[in-house]
């Protein structure tokens, strides 16, 4: 198998070869970027959240009458709903909250250490107004201090104590003991382990919680339910019925596991990754068709040449390898250009979406995939070419 002869053969079919090269180039470019986006989405969906995603359900709801949206009727409704939910077999704990975790954005505000606003101010920190069981439901472990056990009014004469997540406490108090100190939202009562709050926040692990009555429910509220492992399906079926039996004047927007909620958080990226992967797959298919057609047509057109080679002593294996070799060579050239186009495409995509740069090892993996596809597509035409009989092929010479 001579490299020079293979190059000559490709040069003889320069238009067809150029078309194939362009396809291979673009296929590799798209394949690389689809791989990048898919791996980024996969990494996001597997990032640590600090939450037992499969064992926590979130019910988002709102009273449908104005009377039920105000205290004391609202307080009574919440008590009755939580009591009802706790009777469902499989429920370990239940709590209310003005909002659930794992959101794009929601109720948030700035937090700073009292007296040091200029240095410590953090914006867009999610604020949770919750019942005392909230920490147990989310499985947050106490790091420091003591968790409040009874609700304190948010607009009462005394500021309600706050509970910070560990990451936020470190950002605000940098090595100091935060318990007993004050932030603008109230005195710090405790620090708990991190959990994923809101995606648009400065840091997803920054959260502030206050055990307090809900401040208002115009945007609805969440009931968070901790379950025994493996009971999510059965509990879920009963929750809606139980809540409607407690009081029918409610609208239930959804009942979701936190795993579903987490997946929804990256829905856009997931969608784009699926579409790009699908497109990359289609592009591979199109390239395989092209490689097949190219090799097949070439084999048919070169019957005489192959016949002469066979008559002069070339073995079937040599002919087979030569045809495959031409495809491999073409793929290698295409891949070389493809890497350059992939980098350009990556930069273009980065202007409209968040996509990481292509690591050095990825083009090799993409090349391996492309080589496999091209080999597969060329196999049959190359096999046909080896069957050319020297006698028949040279008859017309």
């Amino acid at each position: 198998m001579s490299l020079h002869l293979m190059l000559q053969s490709l040069k003889r079919r320069k238009v067809v070869t150029a078309l194939l090269l362009l396809q291979l180039t673009m296929t590799l470019a798209l394949l690389l970027n689809a791989m990048m986006l898919a791996s980024q989405t996969h990494a996001s969906l597997n990032e640590p959240t600090g939450l037992a995603l499969d064992n926590i359900l979130q019910i988002q709801l709102k009273p449908t009458t104005p009377a039920l949206r105000k205290y004391p009727a609202l307080g009574d409704l919440l008590e009755r709903q939580l009591a009802g939910v706790r009777t469902v077999p499989g429920v370990v704990a239940a709590a209310y909250s003005n909002q659930g975790p794992l959101l794009q954005g929601g109720n948030n505000g700035n937090v700073f250490k009292v007296g040091e606003q200029d240095r410590t101010n953090l914006s867009s920190v999610p604020m949770y107004f919750v019942s005392a069981d909230f920490f147990r439901v989310l499985g947050l472990t106490l790091q420091n201090g003591e968790l409040p056990v009874s609700p304190t009014l948010l607009d009462g004469p005394v500021q309600a104590p706050v509970v910070l997540t560990q990451h936020l406490a470190e950002q605000l108090f940098a090595g100091e003991n935060p318990v007993g100190q004050a932030v603008n939202r109230g005195p710090v009562a405790a620090v708990v382990s991190n959990f994923y709050g809101q995606r648009t926040a400065e840091h997803v692990f920054n959260n502030v919680m206050q055990v307090a009555p809900l401040y208002g429910v115009d945007w609805g509220y969440s009931l968070l339910v901790r379950l025994d492992t493996g009971t999510a399906g059965t509990v879920r079926q009963q929750l809606e019925k139980v809540l409607r039996e407690v009081d029918s004047n409610i609208e239930i927007f959804y009942v979701r596991s936190l795993a579903e909620q987490h997946h929804r958080l990256y829905r856009t990226e997931f969608g784009l990754a699926v579409l790009l992967t699908l497109l990359a797959g289609l592009m591979l298919l199109v390239t395989m068709i092209s490689s097949y057609s190219n090799a097949h047509f070439h084999a048919l057109k070169s019957q005489q040449e192959i016949g002469i080679k066979r008559a002069l002593g070339a073995s079937q294996a040599e002919i087979f390898i030569e045809l495959l070799g031409e495809s491999w060579l073409c793929t290698l050239f295409g891949a070389g250009f493809g890497v350059l186009v992939a980098v350009a495409l990556n930069k273009l995509l980065a202007t409209v979406i968040v996509i990481p740069a292509i690591p050095l090892w990825l083009p090799l993996l993409a090349l391996a995939v492309l080589m496999c596809c091209v080999t597969l597509a060329t196999w049959y035409p190359a096999t046909i070419a080896t069957r050319v009989s020297p006698a028949t092929a040279t008859k017309t010479l």
Partner: protein, 434 residues
Amino acid sequence: MEQFLYYLRASLVSIRRAPLPYALTVFIMALGLGVFFANATFYYRLNADPLPHKSDKLFFPMMLLVPWECNDSTCKPPPVLSYANVQKLSSSDIPTAKAAMYSSDAYLRLDTKQPPLPVSLRITQRDFFRMFDVPVLHGSIWPDDSARNEVILTEALAEKLFGHSDVVGKTLLLDDKPLTVSAVLQNWQMLPRLYDANNRNYTNAVEQIYLPLETGYDMNYLSNSQSSTFDDTDYRQLATQGRTGALHQLQYWVQLDTPAQQQAYRDFMHNLATTEQTAGRHPAVINNQLTALRDIVTYFGGESGDIKAFALVTLLFLLVCLLNASHLSLNRYLSNQYELSLRRALGASRWQLQQQMLVDVLMLTLFSLAGALLIGFGGVQLMNYLWPANRLFAGWDLLLLSGLLVLAWLSSYLVTLYPSLRASFGALNQQLKE
């Protein structure tokens, strides 16, 4: 006609002789066009101008009129305005029309025995309907911007509630408060819904109920899309504190028909900022924005990056498919070269061969168009499933379909042009020998 039928028959004979390469060519063309078309549907509709005759005359004024200091030129005005700031901005008579607004949710019923029905609200002022060309079916729009216990319904909601659309004067309960229907709107949809563009809200449907702004504040309806409090205002006290404090939740639009009006309003905003600064109510640096309706999505940075990224990729995919189809087409024509050369030898002119090529193009266009429509439909369904927020933009119109037809024809022509030229030219004796 006879000649055309002859070319058509010749084309069909050629397809039947080697159906697989032709089917592959059609499949690849349909695939490229279909995938491109599916995304182009969303791209075209998301970037459409819903009011082309006045999208350069409607403006959203924004000022950095907030109670905090900011001397950094990167500080942008809040994307929603407070009630007090809207009052200041609407004190000018320069605009032809002006309306403040926000969206909310409520529960509706005809009497207390009925279960409440969740509905979407737009709480706004009289000029909203004129500015955004909202068609009125029955009744009339409020005569002024004062509080009144009246609502305007969409035709679909009126029919759902009462069984018919002419319900002007009827009473209903909105969150248990009795209100009278003053008008019914013809079914309408503004896509994209640019009057509420922040946070990608422009992909939502228009609201079902319209309530006067003052009544909305009196009834303590909070915005369901974005509300920010920049001072100690209690957002639960919208009727009182919400009207005076720095609780920002309003969109505000003005209609400025001429460049002179636009300049005059800019001057008015600058004077207002200077006056407020002098009075100590504008501690931040002056940063006034007067953004036109057609630029509002870009201003808020809400352009659909995913659709744009996919548009780029589908364009590349279409290009690859066209290259591939050209490749297959070239092989097909080269295989048929003997026949074409024979025709030339028997006296067929190159023009006649090109006519044959045009009939081939027509056939390829029809087959690939049919395939592209099927694949495009599937692609739109898949994208609806993956990105449900864009589902309102999934429809096809005549312009879009005509675009696809032209693209399919152009693609087929390009795919067929080089192979047919190559097969029609060249040394005849050499071609006949091969």
